[in-house]
């Protein structure tokens, strides 16, 4: 039964590719090259010539910025979330900083950090930090007050209370923030490479368009789609492992129907 479903999906995807091919042939436009050429360009560029020169540096920048944002966001979020004075005081400032469209900070980063690696890492980190921070704050605040009371009754010191009570209670919400930031990291990586770089996937795609190598451009877009898909898959697998206990608990209790926030940019 499962195999038939997979086969059907493969067939449907084949239909999609066929439609693309037909559209390319019907339009006969330079903007939409036939699939064969896109695949050939993809093979030429990404197996394996540009893996090391473009794909790996892109992913490295992204990982560095994302890791920085995760460390700062979760750390500061735990601190802000567990103290209501700090939370109220920082509220408007963080709300405003979050509302700035992250790419708008690119010129600022270029001013302060120049055009190198640190600029890109900074832009990715500052764009990603807000969803993580605000979700961590919400997660800490939204924890069942009984957890804290039990922790107090058992006289847990603040350190083990953080480790055993606060972080696990906030973990599902932190995961929501981390996930939202993942797609932000990807777009900021691409934009920063388009604006100021000499390698990387964003640079590759824009350069291909400017020199009118449209099969290369589509191949690069395809590669970015694959990177996005792979990152998401890795994240979901990791989340499932780390939060397995939470899913079990939620499935056992009543699954409340809350509108879910599907953030993807």
């Amino acid at each position: 039964m499962k195999w038939r479903g997979v086969l059907a999906d493969v067939a449907r995807f084949g239909v999609f590719l066929l439609l693309w091919q037909l559209a390319a042939m019907a339009l006969d436009s330079a903007f939409l090259p036939p699939l064969g050429e896109v695949f050939r360009a993809f093979a030429d560029s990404f197996i394996f010539e540009r893996i090391w020169s473009d794909v790996v540096p892109s992913i490295g920048r992204m990982a560095a910025g994302y890791a920085l944002a995760a460390a700062v966001g979760v750390g500061a979020g735990l601190m802000i979330g567990s103290n209501w004075v700090v939370r109220r005081t920082t509220g408007p400032v963080t709300e405003f900083l979050r509302a700035i469209p992250p790419p708008a900070l690119l010129p600022f980063a270029m001013l302060v950090f120049g055009f190198g690696l640190s600029m890109k890492v900074f832009v990715i980190a500052i764009g990603c930090v807000w969803p993580i921070l605000l979700n961590t704050v919400d997660g800490v605040r939204g924890a069942d007050p009984m957890f804290n009371e039990v922790a107090r009754v058992y006289r847990l010191d603040s350190r083990s209370r953080l480790r055993r009570v606060v972080i696990p209670a906030a973990a599902p919400q932190i995961a929501v923030g981390l996930r939202a930031s993942l797609s932000i990291a990807l777009i900021l990586m691409v934009i920063s490479e388009m604006v100021a770089s000499t390698n990387g996937l964003g640079y590759f795609v824009l350069q291909a368009q400017r020199t009118f190598r449209l099969d290369d451009m589509w191949a690069g877009i395809l590669m970015l789609g694959i990177v996005g898909f792979a990152l998401n898959a890795v994240f979901v697998a990791g989340e499932r492992r780390v939060l397995a206990w939470h899913r079990g608990m939620r499935a056992a209790s009543d699954a409340s129907a809350e509108p879910m926030e599907a953030v993807s940019a």
Binding site: V93, I100, I191, V205, G220, L224, M260, E261, V263
Partner: protein, 261 residues
């Protein structure tokens, strides 16, 4: 633990937040004035404010802001016109959902900014390019929220409608649409933020007129205070649009239990 025991808790809610903003501004002002931060990159906030005030009296400034807002509205509008009906249709018809699921799952992870070159090719570097980007990016949250919203109708409500023999049209109007509405409202709010991000990105990278472009121009002209002023404008726009959606959502969806928290 009861907040009212503490003196700070007796203050009205806005006091601490305002204090926070004031502290940040004063710290930056002092750090810049005392040259703790490199003056070349960090003008004092008062100077940024003055630069912004000087800009705000020019017609050019309001044209720039309007260009960004117009791009946002067009992008979000196109996305809503496409994504809400299509998403509801896909969500309502399981057969359709099975057919298109793979394609949607394939297209969604493509970061919207990867299409900047395509936008330039198809629409040039003007208004059309950034609207294309914004509407493409804003389509996805709305599409998924509309799909989930329709799929998540309370089975009891659906069975009740069936028991009372409501026709398809009335069932769609009185059962499906109301239960999908909060999902779509969330989708609109998320998509609005995404559309603004992409409009600013388009202005920044492909250079169509607007706030994003103004930031880039001020930076390359060495006008640091003006550049920061426009970054603040971008933030204020984001804040205003987000607040607007939250304010509109409440009375429109007041009947929904999710709003009564």
């Amino acid at each position: 633990m009861i907040a009212a025991d503490r003196p700070l808790a007796r203050l009205p809610g806005w006091v601490l937040g305002t204090a926070g903003v004031a502290v940040v501004l004063v710290v930056f002002e002092l750090a810049a004035r005392l040259k703790l931060l490199p003056a070349r990159w960090f003008p004092p906030p008062s100077e940024i404010l003055r630069a912004l005030a000087d800009e705000a009296v020019t017609a050019e400034f309001w044209k720039t802001v309007w260009a960004t807002l117009r791009g946002w509205a067009m992008g979000l509008g196109i996305a809503a016109l496409v994504a809400i009906p299509v998403g509801m249709l896909i969500g309502a018809i399981p057969f359709l959902y099975r057919q298109v699921r793979v394609v949607i799952e394939f297209l969604r992870p493509i970061p919207s900014v990867a299409l900047i070159p395509v936008a330039v090719l198809l629409f040039g570097t003007g208004f059309g390019g950034k609207v294309f980007l914004a509407s493409f990016a804003a389509t996805w949250p709305l599409l998924f929220q509309s799909m989930y919203g329709v799929q998540d109708v309370d089975p009891v409500a659906r069975d009740t409608a069936r028991a009372y023999r409501l026709g398809r049209v009335r069932q769609a109007l009185f059962v499906t649409l109301p239960s999908a509405a909060p999902y779509i409202a969330t989708g609109l709010r998320v998509s609005s933020a995404v559309a603004l991000i992409l409009v600013v990105t388009g202005e920044l990278v492909i250079g169509s007129a607007g706030v994003g472009n103004a930031i880039a121009v001020a930076r390359s002209g060495g006008d640091v205070a003006v550049a920061y002023g426009y970054i603040a404008v971008a933030g204020l726009l984001g804040l205003a649009l987000n607040t607007l959606f939250k304010i509109v959502e409440r009375p429109v969806l007041h009947w929904h239990p999710g709003q009564r928290r």
